[in-house]
Point group: C2
Chain length 367, copies 2
């Protein structure tokens, strides 16, 4: 295995930044079980692996399917192939320690069953302590290398939207349109969709999280297209709503209101502002149009290795926005029978406010 340089942020490696938690937690090690966190910390992208971070070494534990991949991907950690389960190998790797010691883990990412296994294997010597969401908070602030990738991922999905736009026509089914989107993502350089593409037309567009069906798009319908790409491990997320034909005045008014709410939320974003304040601004804008009751989800979410990360731009969220955070801004209204409208961009928080990563136009398209 050729060691590769660990990516830096604020002059420290990611694993070293995790080690900063050790003193507060009084921990001797951190067992990282959530795969996106494992990937963030050491580069491993397989589907089975845990990372054990100790003060002076890190060990990526995976299984025999990933011998070659781990050798190629992992940096800054020793690779160990587990024969009898990842958790057993992790506790065995701690066997060299003397006396009692404390190991941190994230309670959000360990099941009750795994917890029982860890306690049985670690015995009385190990005290398992909560590391909370320390790694997620590290991940929320992107370094310049991550931001470059995320800008590329956001540009890619904007280009995919432009490429499939001519296909958004009466007669194509929702699922076929989703197939075109996901095909274009891969053909245009992405590794795949960052989530199952949402295509919802007509009355179904009022389902905020509709799966595409065999229903065909028809004239005089709203179409919500929510899609994202993964590019070298990083996600983008883009929603546009179009109308097939000339939209009634009511639909145009709704679109304008959502666009206004989205713009207001964008304007509200800057370092030091609470996530919940941004949500309140979007909600307030829709309230002025008497549409607040149709806005049934939060204003946005963090984006990165996962398509939903910290911070959540939701009601009452106390997280304070920081430079380098990447979030979606995606207010929407959903009216039973009539349909739904959602407009979503990805932005990065900079010292000057929100900067768009998304390049697609937000103009209302009547196709």
């Amino acid at each position: 295995m050729t060691p590769k340089p660990v990516q830096l942020n604020s002059g420290r490696s990611r694993v070293d930044r995790l080690r900063l938690s050790f003193s507060t937690l009084r921990a001797d090690a951190f067992l990282v079980t959530h795969l996106p966190n494992v990937r963030y910390l050491c580069g491993f992208s397989g589907s089975a692996g845990v990372l054990l971070v100790e003060p002076s070494r890190s060990t990526l534990i995976t299984d025999s399917r990933y011998v070659f991949q781990a050798q190629e991907e992992v940096s800054g950690a020793k690779v160990h192939i587990a024969k009898h389960g990842l958790l057993r190998a992790a506790t065995e790797a701690l066997g060299h320690r003397r006396g009692r010691f404390r190991v941190a883990y994230a309670p959000e990412h360990v099941t009750v069953a795994q917890n029982a296994t860890l306690h049985a294997l670690g015995g009385a010597r190990v005290r398992w302590v909560s590391g909370g969401d320390f790694i997620e908070r590290l991940r929320a602030v992107k370094d310049p290398g991550e931001l470059a990738l995320m800008r590329e991922a956001a540009t890619l999905i904007s280009e995919v939207f432009a490429a499939v736009l001519p296909k958004i026509r009466p007669g194509i089914s929702e699922i076929s349109l989703a197939a075109e989107v996901e095909y274009a993502i891969k053909k245009m350089g992405g590794s795949g969709p960052s989530f199952e593409t949402i295509v919802a037309s007509g009355a179904r567009s009022a389902w905020a999280h509709a799966r595409p069906t065999s229903k065909q798009l028809r004239k005089n319908e709203l179409v919500v297209l929510d899609h994202g790409a993964i590019l070298r491990g990083y996600c983008s997320d883009l929603t546009r709503t179009v109308f097939l034909g000339r939209a009634p005045a009511k639909v145009r008014r709704l679109y304008k209101a959502v666009l206004e709410a989205q713009g207001a939320a964008r304007q509200a974003i800057r370092p030091g502002v609470k996530a919940g304040e941004v949500d309140a601004v979007a909600r307030g804008a829709l309230k002025r149009h008497k549409l607040a009751q149709y806005f049934t989800h939060s204003t946005g979410h963090g984006l990165g290795i996962e398509v939903h990360e910290m911070p959540r731009l939701g009601r009452g969220e106390e997280t304070v926005l920081e430079e380098g955070m990447v979030v979606t801004i995606e207010p929407g209204v959903y009216i039973g029978g009539l349909g739904g409208i959602r407009i979503e961009d990805d932005v990065v928080v900079t010292s000057k406010g929100a900067e768009n990563l998304t390049s697609a136009s937000r103009e209302f398209l009547e196709l």
Copy 2:
């Protein structure tokens, strides 16, 4: 909401079969947190939901994004839209009970953090007990309706393989070939891939779980294509390995050995046989060719709503095969530098032995 008939197996609804666990567990209710289990029991396919099964009623709890979808999909359960979290709504729904009571859940599908929430919300009145993998064991045995869907899903992916076969040529990239596969799945009637399509060529085919890259397929290389489709909620899974050009004698011998191991495993499948015995048969066949050390994963896995279900056909697995179980048979050999070969079919366990769901030919293709 129009109630729809609940699907039957052995004359009882699925939820009623779950209720059979109540006496053994001395449980007053079962809180189902794993989404595939929720879907199996009540039909809901959204991304956030828990199902609370009580002796005489069931409640599907989801959030405001899924108001319409839940109304359309759920059968045999009341729909409740949670305002302050699914787990809180679930414990509140139990508020009508008097005195102390016991609620079962699956420790594999509840995180340590959720467990803490449940204990805090339930207080001293609720005793949370392990329901183990009771629902997964129900799901392992498919009813006739499920088998019909799974046969369709397996036929679909066999047809997708036939459709993309002409594109498996030198010059196409792994990721482009994966894009063609996933496009064809949707265009041919599937709702999407059942997992991220694996295309691994040349030396990379020795990575049993390789993600497709921009590497182009070249002449005189092995290509492993592992792909699956979801059709109305049920998964298929198919692997074929082809050679671009005329294969060296060594590669043909390897293919023949893997095919022999796969056939031997298929022959070994019948009701009453342990899963581990089937694995041992495949392993034994490869051992006779001195290839056992290159077979680095288990022989197969259950298949259904999830792409990995019970039973696992792995070393020492004690699960006894039953009529109606659906499993993959997929031995493989992976040799660093040379590449990998895997052959995978989906079969259903019948009284007469394994019956193929997969229709694609297993003949060695030199393209």
